[in-house]
Structures are given as C-alpha cells and as structure tokens.
Point group: C2
Chain length 255, copies 2
C-alpha cells in the first residue's frame, strides 16, 4: 500500500481527470465511489485498477479482503480524496475500474429496456436500477443518452450494471434486429395509434422504449417499433417523469 498525502500528487491528478467524459473515453476507465458500490463491484468479480481509501475509512470498515482485488492500493489523506471525489462529502473510498463492453445475449430470456436520447444522468441511472429490480435482461443506451460512466449515472444506478448488461447501441439498427428475432418492441408515445399500457398483454420476451425528457421517443425509433403505448393519466399533470413512467411500465408486466 502506498501513501498519498497531497492533493497535488500525480496519481491523484491523473485520477481526477476521470471526472471528465473526454478522459474516461481516452483511458477506457471510470470511477466508482462509496463502500456499497465498491463492495458490489468486488462481489461481482470486477478487478479494481486502483483503490483509494482514507485511514479513517480503513479503521472503520472490513477492508482486508478488498486489498487483494485491486492492482494498486493507496492510503490517502482527506485532502487527496476530496480532490478526486464528485461528492460534497466524500465517503472515504474511491476506486478506478476498466470500462467493460457488455453484450446483450440473443435470444432474450427476459424483456429489455431501450433508452432513446434520455439526457438526465439521474434518469438514466434510475431506469437501469429499476430494470435490474424488475428482472430485465438488459438495458440499451441509444444515441444521445447521458454518459453511462459519469459519476451521476453511476450514483443513481447503485451498482446495477454489475447485475445486468448495459449496452450502447444505435436503436435504429438494433430494433429491426430484435424484431427479426421475434422480439416485440413497444415505444412510449402519445400518437393516435398508441394503446393504453393497461390493454397490452405483451408476449415474452419484449422491449420497452423510453424517450427524451422533452421530446419523447424519436420518430425513426417509433417507426421501427411494433406498437406505441401510453400511460393514461386521470389527473391534471401534463406528463410523468420518464423514470417514473419506465417503472410503471416495467412493473406492469410481471416477468
């Protein structure tokens, strides 16, 4: 274990760059933060490139087993952890992991969630977490979605990407492929052909498409889909938050 006291240390400065998308892409790495996420990563066999912990954190947690799961382990000062943390109050533990390319296995054994241009990182992370809870086979991030490896997405998804594949793909290519495999694709939309989700009995496996917070699912993706569906709202709100809508739909059809 090496010791780092200064926030100006080279390793700290290099790691700090991972807060930016550009450098995450260049390096093929990303950061996770907090005891729960690091524990989830290790539990699911993820090797850690780097593990940074404060003395305080190591004294108060059982970390011995974790030390063997990381290529490099650092005991860092509060100032150093603050420099690489994306939180106002750092939790004393940060890890660097390699980005892994995950694959959606066909034929599907369960439904999948397709996201089309969902821009808010909290929404993307929350929907992946919900898909995980619902027992979905995977989540596909289409064009324009928030960067999956950003700290905000990672925070909201709470380690769910260690449980199910999260794949980046062009939905305009993927949807025809899914449909040729017999997967029905239901896109959320408010067009005239849209069917209430309550009247739909999807045949397994199927896919649900959620769209951009303001514009919804794009016209091309709707065209490629089997059917459009909507959530009837008896009240006065004009719309639902997209992550809430996704939760309602995913739990409406037990798998």
């Amino acid at each position: 274990m090496k010791e780092i006291t200064s926030a100006q240390n080279t390793t700290i400065k290099e790691t700090k760059k991972l807060l930016k998308n550009k450098y995450r892409q260049q390096s093929g790495c990303y950061m996770i933060e907090g005891e729960h996420l690091v524990e989830e990563a290790i539990k699911h066999g993820q090797r850690l490139d780097k593990l940074f912990m404060t003395k305080d954190f190591m004294v108060n947690n059982e970390v011995n087993e974790w030390l063997t799961q990381a290529d490099e382990v650092y005991e860092v000062s509060e100032a150093a952890i603050k420099a690489i943390s994306s939180l106002p109050t750092p939790q004393g533990i940060v890890a660097v992991l390699k980005q892994t390319s995950q694959v959606l296995e066909l034929p599907l054994q369960a439904p999948v969630l397709l996201l089309d241009n969902v821009q808010d990182p909290g929404n993307v992370g929350t929907m992946i977490r919900t898909a995980d809870a619902a027992g979905y086979a995977g989540v596909v991030l289409g064009k324009g979605c928030a960067d999956f490896y950003s700290n905000k997405v990672q925070r909201a998804l709470q380690g769910s990407h260690f449980h199910l594949p999260v794949v980046q793909a062009d939905l305009n290519t993927l949807i025809p492929e899914l449909r040729s495999q017999g997967v029905e694709v239901y896109a959320t939309a408010l067009d005239k052909q849209a069917k209430s989700y309550r009247e739909l009995t999807p045949t397994q496996p199927f896919a649900i498409v959620m769209g951009n917070e303001g514009q919804g699912v794009s016209a091309d993706v709707i065209k490629a889909s089997t059917q459009t569906i909507y959530i009837p709202m008896p009240g006065q709100a004009e719309s639902l938050n997209v992550a809430v809508a996704a939760g309602i739909l995913m739990f409406a059809y037990p798998i």
Copy 2:
C-alpha cells in the same frame, strides 16, 4: 413596469433571499421560475406578488395578459435575473408568490399520498407530480420532508401544487384521523406482515405512505397504518428509488 439593471438593486437583493428556507419562512413567500410554471400559476388563479422578466423574454413571449396578474412587474437585466435564479441558465422569468395554506378535504374523494421523512427535493417534487397525474386527492408532507417551497422541489413538481392540495401535517396525528373516517392506510415496508401490492385490492378512498430514502417509513407510522405492503422484485437490485416505487403503487390501483 419598473426597470432594474443592477444585480445590487434592493428588490433583487431581497428576492434573492428567498432562495433560503429561513427567509421563505419569515416572509411567507416563495419563488417560481420559467414560463411554464408562471403560466400554470396564473391559469390557476394565483396572484403574483412580483414578476421579473428580461427584455428578451418579453419580446419572445406573449406576456401582456400576465402583467395584470402581478402586483409589481419589473423589466430586469440579464445580470439581475441571474442573481435571483437558481438555474445555471436562467429562463428570463421569475415570479414571487405568497405561500398558501392548502387543506385536504375530508371525506376523501380519491386516494392521498403521505410522505414520511422523504428528504430528497427531487423525490418529493416528482411524487407530487405523479400523484397529480394519477388523479390523487392530495399529498401530505410529514415531518422531515424536503422543504416544499424550495426551488428544487418546485422544479420537480412542475406546477402540480396548483392542481391538488399539498399539505404539511404530522402523520402520527393525521393517520388515526383518516382511519376514523374509514380511510385505509397502506404503508410501504419490508416487514413479515407486508403484503405484495399485487395481492392488495384497496377500497376507495385510501392512502399510501412512502418513507425515507434510506430508512423507509418510521415504526410509529407503520404502527398507525392499516397494513404494510411491498413491491416484489424478481431482479437483483436491493431497492427501488422511492419516487419510482410511488409511481408503481399509485398507478397499480386505477381510481
């Protein structure tokens, strides 16, 4: 219409204070921001204490009708609107409104949503918006909930409090009162007595209780409730985001 060019103007400085809870309580006022929210307020007969708009906003929007709905109207500079905005990119329009005490009318005509110590402003706002979409009769914020008049809650609820009453109350007093009126109260929890929400057929009207993001619904509130319910999760995620869970439950029982 008065003109304000400086961010140091007294009215601007006074208004800026409303970004803080303490001053909102002292003054009994709060702020809303953006065209949609101001439009919703006016549409629902809310009088505006103050209305601040940039020249640019007034040129690009139909604001004539709004001018008569505000006691004081100000044309302000970009610098001045930036000083009172809670957004990184201000939308050119901010209004100050009086806080109004809303009342939950008994007997209930529809279900209500009770929030026990829900701390995240985004979650509180999103749940009010979802309750509005679901046609609920109202939302009650119990102890420990995020400040309803904060800009973050206001942003997430998108004007839904102009559609249904949002009331602050002690749930330990309110729940027995509701039950004495024949309202069944279902609290989300993972205790042994909890029933799957899929097996529940609630009799109208009823109430659903959602709890704190980490600790769930408090023991006292659970004790006062009719029955505990839970959402079965076939996947691996340990929990659902509270606003997603609320959405699943509110849309599970059509009103």
